[in-house]
């Protein structure tokens, strides 16, 4: 990789003092990426775009929002009605949260399918899990801010989970509330945290990309980059592909923003919070439903909270639970099937999380919760030992050529 000296005099002056141009060149232009990445590798950049999207729309909303229990709901309605394009900013932020989670979940499942968590990318993977936790915190604190019925009761249910901690639980909950119930102190601190967390996310994203650029992207074959022939520069190949991905994602996002802005929300959140009236059933946003199902599947409160936490924490040790030497599911005939079973299990958990906790739904949620943990704790360790992986290709370059077939004048173009 060359480090070109900028031609512009001003740029040279800057470069001499702070090498931003060679830094950008290294990380954004010449950066070597595997040349066989498929479209599932778009979702990391899409998550980054959604983070910026949420911060920009969020800051605009913060300029008009009032974090006080008597005024929060009214101030949101004021944004919707009086602020120029306020409805657009709010719907973009509200649905942007869902879009963010959607692309991040796809990004995570991409990692699970192609074994992107395996050596030497464990810390990259951990940072991703940290980002997921931070996002959940940001989403939850944000959901409370409009101070609708579901905001209030979601805050009540979730903060009460901490009361499950033995001995000190009650004290912890009062400390979180800043009082003896969900009230103004909680709304104030949630607002502060909701503004803070995205910037912590930005920091961890920088670490995430640092780790990524240090050990490079995984690829659909799951084999290492062996020579320069296996790679292509980030620009223009992945810049244009990421721009296309952004267009496609924004199209989907805008369908929701402009035409069904409240489809993913709870109707009752358009009723102002009322501490004296509990909604008939309390459900979280769709992106929390699988965890909610796990929480409710365990008959014991503390056990449920632990299971819910462990359902994500288990991802930290996944690089060692998975004993297979092969990264990509393409070459793992059995894991390839079980991946889809696991995905289906998560979707069923999400569905059952939206149902009332009664009758057959409890049975389904328990079976799916058991399978969720079995997938990581039993299937992954054993499968890696038993499964006979298909032979791996020699190199990325060779596999790409083979895929294109002999009809392509590959040899002629290989000169450069």
């Amino acid at each position: 990789m060359s480090t070109p000296v900028p031609r512009n005099k001003v740029a040279q002056w800057i470069e001499y003092r702070l090498p931003v141009f060679s830094w950008m060149n290294h990380n954004l232009t010449d950066f070597p990426e595997p040349k066989n990445l498929n479209y599932w590798w778009n979702f990391g950049s899409l998550a980054g775009i959604m983070l910026v999207w949420q911060i920009v729309t969020g800051i605009v909303l913060a300029m008009h929002y009032t974090p006080h229990v008597d005024m929060a709901f009214d101030s949101v309605e004021r944004i919707m009605r009086e602020v120029e394009w306020g409805w657009l900013m709010r719907y973009a932020h509200m649905n942007g949260g869902s879009m963010f989670f959607a692309v991040v979940y796809i990004h995570i499942f991409r990692g699970l399918y192609y074994g992107s968590y395996k050596s030497p990318r464990e810390i990259l993977w951990w940072l991703g899990i940290v980002l997921l936790f931070l996002m959940m915190g940001a989403a939850f604190t944000g959901y409370v801010l409009p101070w609708g019925q579901m905001s209030f009761w979601a805050a009540t249910v979730i903060t009460n989970l901490f009361s499950a901690i033995p001995w000190i639980g009650g004290g912890v909950v009062e400390w979180l509330w800043g009082g003896f119930g969900v009230d103004n102190p909680l709304l104030n601190r949630f607002y502060a945290l909701h503004y803070l967390l995205p910037f912590i996310i930005v920091g961890v994203v920088i670490l995430h990309i640092w780790a990524l650029h240090h050990r490079r992207s995984n690829n659909p074959l799951g084999i290492d980059i062996k020579s320069a022939k296996d790679t292509i520069p980030f620009h223009p190949y992945y810049t244009i592909r990421d721009m296309f991905g952004m267009g496609a994602m924004l199209f989907v996002l805008f369908v929701f923003v402009f035409f069904v802005p409240n489809m993913l929300g709870e109707t009752i959140n358009y009723v102002e919070a009322n501490p004296l009236q509990t909604p008939s059933h309390i459900v979280p946003e769709w992106y929390f439903l699988p965890y909610y199902a796990i929480l409710r599947a365990i008959p014991d409160k503390l056990g449920g909270v632990i299971a819910m936490l462990v359902s994500i924490l288990v991802l930290f040790i996944l690089p060692w639970l998975d004993t297979s030497k092969v990264r990509s599911a393409r070459f793992r005939p059995i894991y390839k099937q079980l991946f889809w079973v696991f995905l289906a299990d998560c979707i069923v958990l999400g569905w059952v999380g939206a149902q009332p906790a009664e009758g057959v739904y409890i049975v389904i949620s328990r079976i799916c919760t058991a399978y969720y943990f079995a997938h990581f704790l039993i299937i992954m360790p054993i499968l890696g030992k038993l499964e006979r992986p298909r032979p791996l290709p020699e190199s990325i370059h060779e596999a790409v050529l083979k895929k294109r077939g002999p009809a392509q004048p590959a040899a002629a173009m290989e000169k450069h």
Binding site: Y39, F244, G247, V255, T267, V271, V400
Partner: protein, 256 residues
Amino acid sequence: MRRLIAAASAALVLGLAGLTPAAFAATEGGALPHTDFPHVGIFGKYDQPALKRGLQVYREVCAACHGLKYIAFRNLVALGLGNDEAKAIAEGYQIPDGPNDEGEMFERPGRLSDHFPNPFANEKAARASNNGANPPDLSLVTKGRDGHEGYIYAILTGYEEPPADFALGEGMAYNKYFPGHQIAMPPPLSDGQVTYEDGTEASVANMAHDVVTFMAWAAEPELEERKAVGLKVLIFIGLLTAVLYAINVRVWSRVT
């Protein structure tokens, strides 16, 4: 790529299916009788004459008990009223204000910048006058109830004689669609209750349709602008994405 397109179109189909609020309709009392409002749907716009008639029903019937706090009199211009008409409506209300230079609170006629006042001084007063129930503000009811417009319409038209074995509380009414069927609001509409200027028959069904359309507007005054802007945005982003895809294919054709 094909998989991605499939996933994206599935998301779109889901989205479009959700355009009908009736998809999430409350089921108590059976299917909702009327959910087909012209403003529902991708290109749906408010039925303008119904909006105006709905304002009349709200003012002459509902406003006796229900507030409309998020709507200012100036907003009524969006219903096709002239500035003078909106001003005249505002002046028909007495708005508490003050203190004046003597330190006294006083009432004055409404201005365009005022919002519809609540008919009751506070929640306690509202409950005292309404058999213990607090009539909800109507600015967000179509947005804040499962079943949306269809549910509000069903409530307005769903009054019946209670079944023989139903124990109805003192001063309560029986409504087919209300959760639990016992509702504190007496049947609000009866045939011929208002006199429409445009000659529309003031049947319960028509008045309910009109006032629900009006409430939908009060909840989402931005709806028409939102859909119109949305269409332009989708056309733009759709074309841009197609161009980006074409460039993408072109650039990648160089790769061996």
